[in-house]
């Protein structure tokens, strides 16, 4: 009898210990992932973020895992697909050299939903965030942005048979769904729309709520909405209401101007080389969006290191659209010559992946 009890306590302890051991064991895998650097690797000045990423052999990117067209995780393959993903890979090519295929093993994607993008950048958990991330002054207080790499607009998604919502003012008093921590509430407020807001962590949750008639409209970036419309089996449509223009940028740590310069150069290089347009066609283009002209990169003057938002929140509330980058015009040529160097260093041969 005595022995059996001992055995029982012992087995519980053993279970606990083996669970912990299993937990620790997993970390080793990640550590052994540093593969030999590719021969064509570009060189960077020591101490820069690019050099640091290159030497650790891994670029950690925050992105969304559930946005068709932008960034979607496929549970059967574990792979991410979308425009943001393509942009991230093209940036990685600029750091590690080689082709998009070569860098695939050197990028680690982490889920970064709307509300946490600033936090994961500030904490250093990710090197950069490419996650349908609207550039605005309020966020610039906390992080810096390279780009924009795309001018997206916010639109309204409704059920296909809904003809009651045709203009922005129709949203007054309606149940409107959007993501926690997104620019949408501020955008609506700036246009004096008072809607009954439902806030979920992710946009597919908003789509589910719309399908179930728990909300009447979903407001967010057009690219995200088109993905949801495409998945909806013609249950949803866009109301084609221009809520705001959203310049999407690559978020990075505040004050890291060298890294920002590098990313901007790299963006202009892929704009000029056609890789940008090819990436667009493969992803958002598939949802029926015509490929736009690349936007003009906004090399704004840095405002120094990160500050808290305390003083600026009220003024920034309307900041959704402040960076009115001359979206869509063909003015990328100016920057392109300056950046051919970067593209050349990147090997130039990085033809499109898949």
């Amino acid at each position: 009898m005595m022995r059996r009890r001992r055995w029982m306590i012992f087995s519980v302890l053993l279970l606990a210990v083996s669970l912990v051991a299993a937990g620790c064991g997993d970390d080793d895998e990640e550590a052994t992932d540093t593969t030999e650097p590719a021969p064509t690797q570009p060189s960077f000045e020591a101490g820069t973020t690019m050099a640091a990423i290159q030497s650790k052999g891994k670029l950690v990117v925050g992105t969304k895992f559930n946005q068709l067209g932008s960034g979607l995780k496929n549970p059967t393959t574990g792979e991410l697909e979308g425009f943001d993903i393509e942009i991230a890979k093209l940036m990685a090519v600029g750091i590690f050299g080689g082709t998009v295929d070569d860098v695939e093993s050197k990028i680690e994607f982490k889920e970064a939903v709307t509300a946490v993008r600033e936090a994961v950048i500030q904490s250093g958990e990710v090197d950069m965030v490419v996650a349908t991330y609207t550039i605005n002054d309020r966020r610039k207080q906390q992080v810096d942005f390279a780009g924009p790499y795309l001018i997206d607009g916010q639109d309204v998604m409704v059920k296909s048979d809904n003809n009651a919502i045709r203009t922005l003012t129709d949203l007054n008093g309606k149940k409107v769904c959007t993501g926690r921590g997104s620019t949408t509430p501020a955008n609506l407020e700036a246009k004096n729309i008072t809607a009954d807001l439902t806030l979920f962590e992710t946009y597919p949750e908003c789509a589910t709520a719309l399908r179930q008639d728990r909300v009447e409209a979903v407001v967010t970036d057009r690219g995200i909405l088109l993905g949801l419309v495409d998945q909806s089996d013609r249950q949803f449509k866009l109301a084609n209401i221009n809520v705001s223009e959203e310049p999407l940028g690559i978020g990075l740590k505040k004050g890291d101007d060298a890294f920002r310069e590098f990313l901007n150069d790299r963006l202009e290089a892929i704009f000029a080389s056609g890789q940008w347009a090819a990436a667009y066609e493969r992803t958002l283009g598939r949802l029926g969006l015509p490929t736009p002209e690349p936007p003009q990169v906004d090399r704004y003057a840095s405002t120094g290191t990160e500050t808290t938002l305390a003083a600026t929140t009220t003024t920034a509330a309307a900041g959704g659209t402040t960076t009115t980058a001359a979206g869509g015009t063909t003015t990328t040529v100016a920057g392109a010559t300056a950046t051919t160097v970067a593209a050349g260093r990147g090997g130039g041969a990085d033809h499109s992946g898949h």
Partner: protein, 290 residues
């Protein structure tokens, strides 16, 4: 197994009545099931293409990976929470008043907050305080802090449940405070606490699912990703529920057996702690068995 309090062995008439009631109730249950199945099939929820993707190996692997992440967070948090909880329990029983107050403050503060709030705070707040960690650690820290305050109460109750005579006897043979604790009180108290600790582990394991709000890729998060991908939220989430029920049932059964044994051996009472709702419940099974 009839309930011990309520009925003697049934007589012939009562047996007949029970038989009638059983048939009626059984039919009612079957009718409910039939309605549920009908409803599911009417809405196309029983079609195999809703289930099929979930039974494919890559998707199962995705789930199992989520389960491993869940177990990992739960195991690490449990170990940390036990250590911190032990320290806090001893501090609350200490003779030094400031120590006692500090530990009481810690326990009462964190025990009174929802775990959700702590997780949100760790995730959004700690980076601003300079703690730059992986999502995993934000979840583990929140789980550890919350559960350490509850385990501290379990430990304290366990130690206090021992007869005073035990420590008095220890002192009278010349042991000091820490010797008495270490050699006499704690070893006996631990035995009484084991079922409560395992119960708390079940609660902790379930609470790990709150990692879903900070996008830690545990079981529930992965179920949601899967449901959004295949458009079968009911099935994807129900699948995760099966995993949870399997793991937790095993742990609950262990807790019950431990408690029943302990009750038989020592006739010792259970450790009853406010806030640890699971703990209070194991008594039922134990009483039924004894």
């Amino acid at each position: 197994m009839t309930a011990p309090v309520l009925a003697d062995a049934l007589g012939p008439r009562a047996r007949r009545r029970v038989r009638v009631a059983s048939i009626a109730a059984g039919l009612l249950v079957l009718a409910c099931l039939a309605v549920a199945v009908r409803r599911l099939s009417d809405r196309g929820q029983l079609e195999s293409d809703k289930w099929r993707p979930l039974t494919e190996w890559p998707v199962l692997k995705f789930y199992l990976g989520g389960l491993v992440n869940t177990l990992k967070a739960a195991a690490v948090a449990m170990v940390i929470a036990m250590a911190v909880g032990g320290v806090m329990a001893l501090a609350r029983l200490a003779r030094n008043a400031p120590q006692r107050w500090l530990a009481t403050l810690y326990v009462e503060f964190f025990r009174g907050l929802p775990l959700y709030l702590l997780i949100i705070f760790c995730w959004l707040g700690l980076p601003q305080l300079g703690a730059r960690l992986e999502t995993f650690w934000y979840l583990v820290i929140a789980l550890s802090v919350y559960n350490s305050s509850i385990l501290a109460e379990i430990f304290r109750a366990g130690i206090l449940s021992l007869d005073r005579g035990q420590s008095e006897a220890a002192y009278s043979v010349g042991l000091g405070y820490w010797q008495a604790m270490g050699l006499v009180v704690i070893p006996q108290a631990v035995r009484r606490m084991v079922p409560a600790i395992v119960s708390q582990l079940v609660t902790l394991l379930k609470d790990t699912s709150l990692g879903v709000v900070i996008f830690y890729e545990e079981l529930l998060r992965r179920a949601r990703i899967t449901g959004e991908f295949f458009h079968n939220p009911v099935h994807a989430v129900a699948m995760a529920a099966l995993f949870y029920i399997a793991v937790n049932s095993v742990l609950s059964a262990v807790a019950r057996r431990l408690e029943a044994r302990q009750r038989q051996r020592y006739g010792a009472g259970r450790i009853d702690v406010a806030g640890a709702e699971d703990v209070a419940l194991t008594q039922a099974e134990a009483t039924a068995k004894v």
